[in-house]
Symmetry: D2
Subunit: 353 residues, 4 copies
């Protein structure tokens, strides 16, 4: 069994990592750190895990983590991972980072989007931005992985095949990403914004412009498109706990037939278990809906075309805590360690829930 540790395991993403890793057939979860809850049972913080594990949180200690782990997941806030990862990497651990700290290749982008000067720019080049469905081979040969932001991965999975398919002639200046996300995406810390009476039944445009995930989406899409792509992103908080729907509006000068889009998607995702295509003629779920991926690592993808406006609407739905975070990180670890990509991630979504 490969020994796995989690640094900063008390948040929602940490809780999902623990839940999933506890039943992973190839790894043993040895360590879950939390400064605040060191010494506490994990189930006191993640109450769903009561009766499931007797693990306790430990305080972070580099020597202990190194000694007890072969791979480590870091679920630290942005700007915190950079303080831990250089030592973990130097100690020879394989690392899967879930923060934004090693997602962008160009260190200057950190000043622009995150407001800090990156202290270990050399490491940026060693990290692989891990979207298994897109760069599986690269992940297999990596030892440092950066797992994408939740809205970024949903959007990247919806758009990459379309930008790669040059024959679609997608307009690179008018790519609109209108994302809808549940409350768990903003973490477990109470505030007036997350107070139930203020948060119930909202459609809250909390980041109509300038969302940081734009940077990583543009990085991937520009790379695949072979030129600078601009992403116009708006993020909305909606009335649910888990899930993201990314509605992507694209334009093309050409008339685009559904068959061409099918070809682009199938060409890239054939054999990718966690991608499901949803484009039905009947039933309540004719297109992707985050309700239908809850509790799973699936990313559902669908699309619609509108000839009148020259538009393609590409849609993707994920569980933000799984494919948008812990699940994608574990899937990527599986590849890095040579395991079956699906190991520990085979749960079907719950429905109805």
């Amino acid at each position: 069994m490969t020994r796995v540790g989690i640094v900063a395991a008390s948040g929602y993403i940490g809780g999902e990592l623990i839940r999933l890793l506890l039943t992973h057939p190839k790894v043993e979860l040895t360590t879950a750190t939390s400064r605040k809850y060191a010494g506490e049972y994990v189930f006191r913080v993640h109450p769903n895990l009561r009766g499931v594990t007797e693990l306790k949180f430990s305080d972070y200690n580099l020597a202990t983590v190194t000694e007890r782990s072969d791979v480590v997941f870091t679920a630290l806030p942005h700007g915190e991972s950079i303080r831990y990862i250089p030592q973990l990497a130097a100690a020879g651990l394989k690392v899967v980072d879930l923060s934004a700290d090693y997602r962008l290749k160009d260190p200057e982008q950190y000043s622009i989007w995150y407001g800090f000067q990156h202290p270990s720019p050399d490491l940026l080049g060693r990290f692989v931005y891990a979207v298994p469905e897109i760069n599986r081979d690269e992940i297999r040969h990596a030892s440092l992985l950066s797992s994408p932001g939740c809205m970024a991965i949903a959007t990247i999975l919806a758009l990459t095949p379309l930008l790669k398919a040059k024959e679609l002639e997608i307009d690179h200046d008018h790519i609109i990403v209108d994302a809808k996300i549940g409350s768990s995406g903003s973490g477990g810390k109470p505030s007036t914004s997350t107070h139930f009476s203020e948060r119930y039944s909202v459609v809250r445009p909390y980041a109509p412009a300038g969302h940081r995930h734009s940077a990583e989406i543009e990085q991937v899409l520009s790379s695949v498109a072979g030129e600078r792509v601009k992403v116009s992103m708006s993020a909305h908080a909606v009335n649910m706990v888990r899930g993201i729907l990314s509605t992507c509006h694209l334009f093309s000068g050409k008339e685009i037939e559904p068959i061409t889009l099918w070809k682009a998607y199938r060409g890239m995702y054939s054999g990718s278990y966690f991608i499901r295509f949803v484009r039905d003629k009947k039933g309540p779920f004719r297109l992707p809906d985050p309700k239908l991926v809850t509790g799973s690592n699936f990313c559902d993808i669908g699309f619609e075309t509108e000839q009148r406006t020259g538009r393609v609407v590409a849609l993707s739905a994920i569980d933000n805590l799984i494919k948008g975070a812990a699940g994608n990180a574990i899937q990527s670890m599986n590849l890095m360690l040579g395991f079956d990509e699906k190991a520990g991630l085979a749960n079907a979504p719950l429905h109805p829930v």
Copy 2:
């Protein structure tokens, strides 16, 4: 007191018309028709009105309606209003229609968007498409009014000032409207799609392209812009009962400052009680959110700019059953009859709810 009737009053919009008209200081609700519920107490169908009114539904009868009403609201399904309104108009009644049947000026558009040949195209020219904040004077002189679709009015109120302000140089080919709407927008008829277990916690892209409200939005915007404007609209069902958020993504070749947008909005809406500008620096509700207009006739409007992408995000929030239907219809009636525009509509939104 002006005598008012409602034709087809058993749906959700009918229920709101009744609720609001019952306390309107200037009118008396004399008639509420329903083929299905004729003879039943209104409160059996609209159970919130128990104890509020002893009115009963009556079967539709042209002579009776004509005799007992000075103004009539028609809340019939699309394609049904055209069967009633020519007679009502011929009988000299003032009419406020809430269906789509008299919204479009060009009869050919009905073939394209609604799949029927319009049987009374001559009436189209006599109907005023009523958005009081935009064409108050026209409404004052009309006797036949068509109240806009719910997503249409939200979007029109957000966009008209920006398209009118020529100096903004809004790109007319890339206007994206990403709308989010509650369940009441699809009416009271049960189906698998509206079954609670299937509908709870969804973000369902039910009309990613080709939404019929595009037609009326384009009609208004093209008129104000002085040239053909294309609207790329996608509609999503979200997890709430009332409310619409319309997120409109616009592009301009120019760098647009917030002050310029303020000027455009204030120029058009100064003195319009039901428009509120929401663009705060703190608090959970810094931009429009349908949660905050629940139960009222307000339309909240806000915006954000993004220089990097040349984008303006214009946002509007309404209660779809009030400003999106019954409230706007009554506000328009008030103008048509020379009443205070706010009569019967002064209720503040409920919060929290």
Copy 3:
């Protein structure tokens, strides 16, 4: 116009008092105090009131409040009202208190239920515990009113007629009150318990025993029953913002017919506008449901009998912020000031919402 002030108007109950009093035909709202928000516009704290009022919060000052008000509502936390009310009363103001501080007649009960020794026990006798449907006349002659707790008033309205009707022979030792309440009942202060991700979709038994409202319910019921009545109360937080359903399980040695219960209820509540009886044979709302009173001052009451177990189930539903707080307080003020009981409270519930 009678001049009205509100002390401590920044909470949810304060917000409802402001909203309702602003459109009350007989009073003028002159003052709304808030230590924290003094000088701020009311709509910054109660964002639904944007565009509705330009009122600002003022700091509390006895002289100013006294000078500017004929009646004052106090919406202070329990244990705080006692620090303000003696002076307000001494200054000759009429007072409607919404805290628990003057609800109980026996000062010793404050030590037991609230953990403090009551500092002004003499005032307890001068306060009238105001449930207009039960003690209208007493309220009319009072100048100091105490408005009941939200779960208390729902329960008292459901049970008083049944305990008054001696012929029902209700067992006074087995009165079970199983209450379900929305999030607004716990106020506007964020905490882990009210964090959306932790609060969504719960059925949380937050006070299975020992709820403080038991004391006021027992006080009223014991008085009407003429002997000590014990109330076994459990309170649950459920997944909504507004509303209370109180499910009351009673037992009798006698076989009880529905007609007898009808008689008890109608005997007491005939002529009480805000009581609606709900006991239908069909439709989704055959019995009281808080969904159907949202935004109104109604209390819906219904019941069921079960011969096999000798049980009566009495049910009541209210909007906790209106009939459970601000609405009942205003209704009581109306009586105290000789106004129409319904003044300012005529809004029908919203539906669907």
Copy 4:
């Protein structure tokens, strides 16, 4: 691998059986029948299973089912199972029935509670009413199992230890069960009652008296108590999809200490993996809440005592589709077939969700 079939697999319980059995390590799901959907892919009806299984529904045929299965689950409506099970049993299949048709021992009870005369009363004696935590050994030796009603099993698990513990002197005439259940408990068929706009935010007392699950609860409790026990049950639909909270109010003439209740519970459930005790001093989840068992087979149990009223409040929370149906049925099958009780059921609950 044991071969398993499901008769009537298109409902919500059928969907959960399929989902769970597909990953069960000891069985192979060979057959899922549905009259309505015969020939259709399972994932067309249970859209969460898209990409998970290529299984199709087959029409029901006794010979085929018998030939292809060693064990069969019947998820038919009440009154339908009796038409299939005698043949399935006669064919030598092991059966786990999820309807009510073989839950009650006394055939006359079917006339009283279900309105039909039981056609195979002889089989009633051969069926074991399966609550593994209570009659594990009996289940191990059975070949015909009846899985309890969802509210019944929650209540039975909360109450059995307390009624077994004679020293508690529980009053058998005043046992009140106030249950709160999510929408999935009423199945997948649309109606006005389940229409989202009518169902959202409700607390609907849909069965305040006379709920059929009372019969099975009384059967179990009377048996363990050694005398006739009466259960006063009320069921409420609340605003969520999955989950049940059963709030049970009991009375005793004795003063009951928490330690005594602990003893009763631990004495019976020690070693029962799926029972978790929840009685914490802090945090948002101090007592059972269905939110915390979502997606799992756990039953969370907790309690509170109230000396003033002589009351014990026993609380239990389950996922109604898992421990309340499919999960308990599979757990029981595991015992019947000699497998590990937890096989196929090890998923931890999701949180937050």
